[in-house]
Symmetry: C2
Subunit: 340 residues, 2 copies
């Protein structure tokens, strides 16, 4: 089969890879219908995260079940499925508490690489959620979004306790931040403020439900937000970047007793204890337990109540994955969908 492999920073190649096969009886093989490039794929692409060997890429996917292992009970070949970027058994105590991304048997799908024609998904019963039927083609981008970027934005909004009557601020206008806006809107937030200085992203944020846009960053951004909130800060802040500046901006933008939901994969962040202590905020985040939300998100997409697929502003065939990465890296695209 064909699949994307990262050889070195800036060097993504689509090449022949071995077809996946069932290894564990709980595995399923899926024929990938669509995959995409994640903001977190840019960390190694940019060399910020070291690339020590050629690495299959991709952890977001929708597709059709091709084959199942002997222990798979709930899935059958031919079903269209959406999965999360962590395979999980969905039965352990951590999964049952809603933290499937930290399942005691969790397997990172990123190590398998779903920017490819086929993928082996471990723990298929616990990981994959079938759609009610084969989707109309125009639903595929939104179902694909549920696999990570929507699920992650949704988790951030839940972690930030977005809810009716609340002001939610969103740090980061990438795909996750934008879908954090959509999630906050769905969760009933009264006011949604996006920090963004890019006209196209501002527009999409407003489409998704943002009520205010702040162009400033850092302390100036926090000061502007406080002006909008009677000096207090937001009740809920979604952090979807993962840098020192964005984390401190998120904490600073939150009122005492408020909630920060952070999902930007942190790189080089050190949170100063004293500042955190006196902020009085709640801090929760990490790798989103997307599996927790998949049934609900698939349902919303299926009923066409949300259209998260709008974050894909570049669609390319898998063979042109390299251009898909470059466009995101150079901010020419918010998010690239790869067709197969």
């Amino acid at each position: 089969m064909r699949g994307a492999v990262l050889y070195a920073p800036g060097d993504v190649r689509v090449e022949d890879r071995a077809d996946p096969t069932i290894i564990e009886p709980t595995d399923a093989i899926i024929k990938v219908a669509a995959a995409c490039v994640c903001g977190s794929d840019l960390w190694p692409y940019r060399g910020i995260q070291p690339v020590t060997e050629p690495s299959p890429m991709g952890h977001e996917y929708v597709g059709v079940v091709e084959e199942v292992g002997s222990a798979v009970r709930t899935l059958a070949p031919g079903q269209f499925v959406v999965g999360s970027f962590f395979a999980s058994d969905n039965t352990c105590e951590i999964c049952r508490a809603g933290y499937q991304s930290r399942c005691v048997h969790a397997v990172p799908v990123g190590a398998i690489g779903t920017q490819a024609q086929y993928a082996r998904i471990p723990l298929a019963d616990g990981t994959l959620v079938a759609t009610p039927a084969t989707p109309e083609p125009d639903l595929i981008p939104s179902l694909l979004a549920a696999s990570d970027v929507l699920g992650t934005g949704w988790f951030a909004a839940v972690a930030a306790e977005a809810a009716p009557g609340k002001t939610v601020a969103v740090v980061g206008d990438g795909a996750v931040g934008l879908l954090g806006v959509l999630a906050a809107k769905q969760l009933g937030a009264e006011r949604i403020v996006i920090f963004s200085r890019h006209a196209d992203r501002q527009k999409l944020a407003i489409d998704f439900g943002a009520t205010d846009v702040i162009a400033e960053r850092g302390d100036a951004g926090v000061a502007h937000l406080k002006e909008l909130t009677g000096g207090l800060g937001a009740h809920s802040v979604i952090e979807a970047v993962g840098t020192q500046e964005s984390m401190m901006q998120a904490i600073g933008a939150t009122r005492p007793g408020g909630h920060v939901g952070y999902v930007g994969v942190t790189h080089g962040v050190q949170l100063p204890g004293m500042e955190l202590f006196f902020s009085g905020v709640h801090l929760h985040g990490g790798p989103a337990p997307v599996r927790r939300f998949l049934p609900e998100l698939i349902d919303l997409v299926w009923k066409r109540e949300i259209d998260p697929g709008k974050v894909f502003d570049l669609t390319l065939p898998l063979e042109q994955a390299a251009e898909g990465y470059a466009a995101m890296d150079e901010r020419r695209a918010i998010k690239t969908l790869l067709t197969l």
Copy 2:
């Protein structure tokens, strides 16, 4: 009047200070019935927090209202009151959300100094809670505990979401940690693990409801806790120290999706973003909004359902405050009560 003043690390003196007077119409003057030495008083006493000028000491207090300003509506001279270490209006949006220690008009009582015969308490209506009547003398230590050390341990347990069916671990066997045990017990926790290597503190923790004691610290302590919890860690962890090691121990001891309530005043702590991200814990803490809990805590003490005053294992007259500090510094005492 007489009051304790810190001149330099290790140098606490009881000397004549000016009698406080009403400054703002919302002030009250109280005749202090009992005060005490806080673990946080030891930071400047030990020179870890700089002492730049002679500083009146103390922020925990119970006493009798002596005089009220013209705007005070709910209190009258002669009432016995308990207050928090942050004066708060208890009416602003932050107070109404339960974060009175971050009231938009908050005044730190520590700057006033309650290790003294009298104290001016700002924002008296919002800060002081009257007891149902003049308390029996044996209730005074427990009412005094409510002013900070119990209120802080209670907040930590609430922030850690201690509840029925949960395992709660407590990092720190000082007075706050011990009362965190008491709080977790009251909140219905199923299992309460104290990290402690001091026999007297272990005993008190067990009196307050601890079910298990772990003597190891750091990674070894975390490993031992995981053994007790099926490899997962505690649902809820109370952090009541404030050092890098104790914070990392608390985070490490918490299962993914669990809750850390941290109330040790952090000194020199830098939380590594990556480790925090992948821990998947909820983190909440800071200066405890004791005022939120005072009515409930006073009620529990009044009905003799809890006896938090047992943390005072040394009682001295105010004039011997220096010995009270030294005994805590040298760990000869858990907590010193000062009589007036």
